[in-house]
Symmetry: C2
Subunit: 303 residues, 2 copies
């Protein structure tokens, strides 16, 4: 096991201007592990109910994702989210959130996961993120995601997580909210003092910015002809990034840059179809091809 | 004369969260020529009133900008704009617009301008843009800027301009409005069929995208610690871009990429101070230094 991913496993009903799907496979751990498993051996820790069928499991198994940490609750129902997007994919409205079995989720790592060198803590309660960290005899290279809800409601516990985190994924507004700085450069400097030596600010269609203590990197997004469903794009980015980092086995500048671009490329595929449809049959060759296209689109000579 | 710039010369009263200036030098032709003159011999065509003082003229003259095409109307007042920005620099409110001498502006090119190899038509009435093109015995490499007001009100005349244009500068929403396509890739394809073989979509803090018939390029914005006043950033981008293109004397792929980055770098300086304050003493060495920093921030290895 190279990478353990802890997060939500969900069934999503999604409506966009391009169509609608009902109770389709989703959740941060699902998107992240489908992307990461392109690069390294990946296992997930999560919880599902009885409505999580063998068809759903097979999507992950076919990618080689280790499901021994996926708890199934008899008589329970899987986390359910229903949302709608407008013409602007950045504007989404949540119609329903049913936590179901996720409400009492207590992540328990199988024995075989405890020697993993890399950990991605998806966007869950900081108390649960801490409980995962506590289970490792030796702390792996740790990345974490979070959101405004935890920044507001559990700031102190989140700070405890960040002290034990190498890499933090947030979006612009979360970085501003977390740091209290309106400028992203200043926000990055503040946050890096709390623990994470690597900060990744995800900017959706505008790409992503990497901040380290030594410098930074601006990754472009892969330009798409059509965004069908942006659900899970940020989780796919994080999964692709962490998969590439686990495969490289280093947080050197060059490896971080490549991981950023692999994350951006993986996320672009997610947006092209509903749910995880585009990720299902995705090959590493398709990812590499798009990586090279993006490299050609973004290159320019030094002066 | 390498590059002729036609556009507004203005006095601006600007309020941002960082402060306020009153009746400060501004206008599209001013920002664009201050940037372009870092790279090539630049002349402007515009109109001012008696309130345009020798101090204002000197800012342009010290950059070597040829002012023989700058008409001065006795008893007239210079175009005046007053605006206010919120915490988000992308949200600006116009408080006052007084066209003054700009209302009856009829661009007249001095003899010495007619052999220029490059022309930048700032965002003015398409009828005036056409009248400028008509004055050249031989059409120079032509770039044009426009805005939603002309796209709505003078679409046919604008299409006539585009037929005689090599390079079009617009922002995302203008590209969508002009083409009727919500997706930028598709919008670019439509617009390129109307004339411009090069389309530059300016995205402010998110950089700019170049579309050509052969391919494209994604230029990052230079990340700033603080945006003091974004007024004129888009015009500075276009001026820096056109100055670099005029200096290179080609629209080859490599030259377009470099021009994009030079435009982005020039625009970043404009945002650092009010009005044209930061552009005044700017040196080509400072531009080159920031170009190299941006090149380091954006580079990544091929897979």
């Amino acid at each position: 096991m190279d990478l353990v991913i802890v997060g939500s496993v969900a069934l999503d009903t999604i409506e966009t201007p391009r169509g609608r799907v009902e109770r389709a496979l989703g959740g941060s751990a699902v998107y992240a592990s489908l992307a990461a498993s392109m690069f390294c051996r990946t296992g997930i820790v999560g919880v599902v109910g009885e409505d999580f069928t063998v068809v759903h499991r097979r999507v992950l198994e076919e990618r080689g994702v280790d499901l021994s940490g996926l708890e199934s609750v008899t008589g329970g129902r899987t986390f359910f989210w229903e949302g709608r997007y407008g013409a602007d994919p950045n504007e989404r409205e949540t119609i329903t959130t049913e936590l179901n079995v996720f409400e009492t989720f207590r992540p328990r790592l199988p024995e075989g996961f405890l020697s993993a060198g890399h950990l991605f803590l998806g966007n869950i309660d900081p108390d649960l993120q801490l409980s995962v960290l506590d289970q490792f005899p030796e702390r792996p290279v740790t990345a974490c995601d979070t959101m405004n809800f935890w920044i507001e409601g559990k700031r102190e516990r989140l700070r405890d997580v960040l002290e034990r985190t190498d890499i933090l994924f947030v979006n612009d507004s979360e970085a501003r909210q977390l740091s209290g700085e309106s400028n992203l450069q200043q926000a990055a400097r503040s946050i890096s003092q709390w623990g994470p030596r690597v900060l990744v600010i995800k900017k959706g269609e505008h790409g992503a910015h990497l901040f380290t203590r030594e410098g930074g990197f601006i990754a472009p997004a892969f330009p798409l002809d059509e965004v069908v469903d942006p659900t899970g794009a940020g989780d796919t980015f994080a999964g692709g990034f962490m998969g590439a980092i686990a495969a490289a086995g280093s947080l050197e500048d060059e490896d971080l840059r490549r991981a950023m671009v692999f994350g951006a490329v993986a996320a672009s595929f997610t947006c092209e179809r509903f749910s995880v449809e585009r990720l299902k049959g995705l090959t590493i060759e398709e990812i590499r091809e798009r990586y090279d296209l993006l490299s050609e689109l973004a290159r320019f000579a030094r002066d």
